[in-house]
């Protein structure tokens, strides 16, 4: 098996696949919409305007239409026309802000706590059941509880992101700390390095890649959760935007939202990937 692949060839293949997919989609819809749906009363059809005159199935938008709409949205992403009508860039910024806040607080809690848990096998075993039970709970189940108890919707949204994204960081930090190579701890011990010196100069850097992996998983989950949180809280953000476009059934906009969510998620992941590379060590 040959492991080296020229980046160019891969990129080319990516583009070919993309082109085939979009082309196929475009072609498949070519002439759709003229499809003979149930024959309509012509009098009725006349009322519906020309688009409706043919009736029938709701067509999927073509990629070209989506592209046009995307261009339109991206050509002025930061406009604000009243509280209900803001550019897609602003919506993404809102979502990002919420995610970063919730994720940031989660990191501030999870990393020190995970450190403590990782250092104590007893605490680790004792807290594990709680973590395991709380971890799989969906954001949409937390949200009502948060809205009810916190009584502040923007804090609730941040709380839901916090509670959903804390677990991977907590588990990974605890694991990373508990799995620090015995060898290095022995080095620190024979050097009579103190607790703090050992914690910050040996254990933390040793566990850093594992912690970063946890953070990477967490930010993925935080971003996954934002749409749910914003749909329920509403007002601003890409999740609310999706909700609005859904209420208006603008499929093109929903496709664009999916693309945007994917791209921003990818960017967040890459960013943490870079951070992970910065603290990575290899032997």
């Amino acid at each position: 098996m040959q492991r080296e692949v020229s980046a160019w060839r891969a990129a080319l293949l990516s583009l070919v696949i993309l082109a085939l997919f979009l082309g196929g989609w475009e072609l498949a819809l070519q002439g759709a919409g003229q499809g003979g749906g149930p024959a309509l009363d012509p009098e009725y059809a006349a009322l519906l305007g020309q688009a409706a005159a043919t009736g029938g199935q709701t067509p999927m938008p073509k990629p070209s239409e989506i592209g046009r709409r995307l261009f339109q949205l991206l050509s002025d992403p930061f406009y604000i026309r009243g509280p209900n009508d803001q550019g897609i860039g602003i919506q993404i910024a809102w979502s990002l802000g919420r995610v970063l806040l919730g994720f940031g607080i989660a990191a501030l809690v999870a990393i020190p706590l995970g450190f403590v848990i990782g250092m104590s096998p007893l605490l680790n075993a004792a807290l594990n059941p709680f973590i395991q039970v709380l971890r799989p709970v969906s954001p949409l189940a937390w949200m009502p509880l948060a809205l009810f108890t916190i009584q502040d919707s923007s804090i609730s949204a941040v709380f839901v992101i916090f509670i959903c994204s804390i677990w991977p960081m907590l588990l990974n930090t605890a694991f990373g700390v508990s799995a620090v190579r015995r060898e290095w701890l022995n080095v620190a011990r024979t050097l009579e390095a103190g607790t703090w010196r050992t914690a910050f100069r040996v254990i933390l850097p040793a566990a850093a890649p594992t912690i970063l992996t946890g953070m990477r998983i967490s930010i993925g989950i935080a971003w996954l959760v934002i749409v749910a949180a914003e749909m329920l809280v509403g007002g601003t953000g890409i999740g609310y935007w999706v909700w609005n476009q859904w209420n208006n059934l603008s499929i093109a906009d929903i496709c664009i939202a999916i693309l945007m969510i994917g791209l921003v998620g990818l960017a967040l992941d890459r960013l943490l990937g870079l951070a992970a590379r910065a603290v990575a060590w290899n032997e």
Binding site: G49, A52, G55, N84, L232, G234, N247, L249
Partner: protein
């Protein structure tokens, strides 16, 4: 428009009807536990659904044979507004008239004048809802631009109280029982009943695919009879407590029975310390006046949802099946209005359905 002669037997007996768990759906729901569908030879499963967008999508996908919708939704869908392409659905009967309210958070007890609502956030159930149009008209009458001076969001009715409690919204114009529920939980108070804005306004509709009367006339007729009968039954003040008991349970509205009773009987706590007695707080009237549709269409034009010229009367005639509803009412011995057009008095203005353009032109705040 005259429907065809009715065969005696329904072509399709097993039907699925989607509904949203609000008191507006009372006739659709109570027809099930009280046996009206069965009586007319139908085997109906009523399916609770999460929100109006889901109702719409499942209706378009024909997962539902008929559905509980907001009265403006079939109009919008038929015109291709808010959907990717026109979906011919029709209002077979109106479910309820009145029965909505503006509920404000308790902290706004001193803000009873809408002119002071600048900057507040309100929820309505859906963009294409009478609630949206009434709230907009109401604040516009007070001189506020509903798009610039306040914020209006679509929130599924069940989430309204939780959002009000979390101070995520300052108030809502929403369907019952959630207005009453807000009072019941000590979260808000009833600012006004929509009855005072437009007495007899339509709210929710019993919607069917536009092709149903043609393709399944038997089923359609049976369904209409069941619904009209259930509507009439629900409307009788004497039956209201019985109906409340029938629909409060977890299979239907899933709310405390007292809340439903307060809504249906009109003897209710308003959240301001008063017990109000408004027996016609909600009414159940099946007849889909075309004038209602025309007013809705003018509002869709007013707020920029409908951007092209349409023949209001013709669309109303196509989408609001007044004749079919009238026939069913007549068969059941109910009084049928002579005219599908009715002059309305809305927010202190007269609305003449024959002069929609003049009406529309009279507003200062519009898109």
């Amino acid at each position: 428009r005259e429907a065809m002669a009715q065969p005696a037997t329904p072509e399709k007996r097993d039907l699925r009807i989607g509904f949203i768990a609000i008191t507006c759906a009372t006739p659709i729901i109570m027809a099930d536990p009280m046996g009206f569908y069965r009586k007319h030879g139908l085997n109906v499963e009523v399916i609770r659904t999460a929100g109006w967008a889901v109702i719409r999508d499942r209706a378009i996908a024909r997962e539902f044979d008929a559905a509980h919708m907001l009265a403006p939704m079939p109009l919008a869908m038929s015109l291709g507004v808010g959907v990717a392409s026109p979906q011919p659905w029709a209002v077979a009967a109106i479910e309820n008239v009145n029965g909505q309210a503006i509920t404000l958070a308790n902290k706004h007890r001193d803000k009873r004048n809408p002119a002071n609502w600048r900057g507040m956030r309100f929820a309505v159930p859906f963009d294409f809802s009478i609630h949206n149009y009434l709230l907009r008209a109401y604040v516009a009458e007070a001189g506020l631009d509903p798009d610039r001076d306040i914020q209006i969001r679509s929130v599924p009715p069940p989430e309204m109280v939780a959002n009000l409690r979390a101070e995520n919204i300052d108030g809502f114009l929403g369907p019952d029982p959630f207005n009453q529920r807000a009072v019941f939980d000590g979260v808000g108070f009833i600012h006004l009943l929509t009855k005072t804005l437009w007495d007899g306004h339509p709210c929710c509709a019993f919607a069917v695919p536009a092709s149903m009367p043609r393709e399944m006339p038997g089923t359609f007729a049976a369904l209409m009879r069941a619904i009209v009968e259930a509507t009439a039954y629900s409307n009788a003040p004497a039956n209201r407590r019985e109906v409340a008991a029938a629909i409060a349970g977890p299979n239907y509205l899933n709310q405390p029975q007292t809340v439903i009773e307060q809504v249906l009987t009109g003897t209710f706590a308003d959240g301001l310390g008063q017990v109000q007695r408004v027996p016609d707080r909600v009414g159940f009237q099946p007849f889909p006046y075309h004038s209602m549709a025309i007013w809705i269409l003018t509002q869709m034009r007013r707020w920029g949802q409908l951007t092209r010229e349409v023949d209001y009367a013709a669309v109303a005639n196509q989408v609001f099946l007044a004749l079919d509803a009238g026939r069913a009412m007549r068969e059941l011995g109910l009084e049928v209005p002579a005219d599908t057009m009715r002059r309305e008095r809305i927010l202190g203005r007269d609305f003449d359905p024959a002069q929609p353009d003049a009406y529309l032109a009279s507003f200062a705040i519009r898109r």
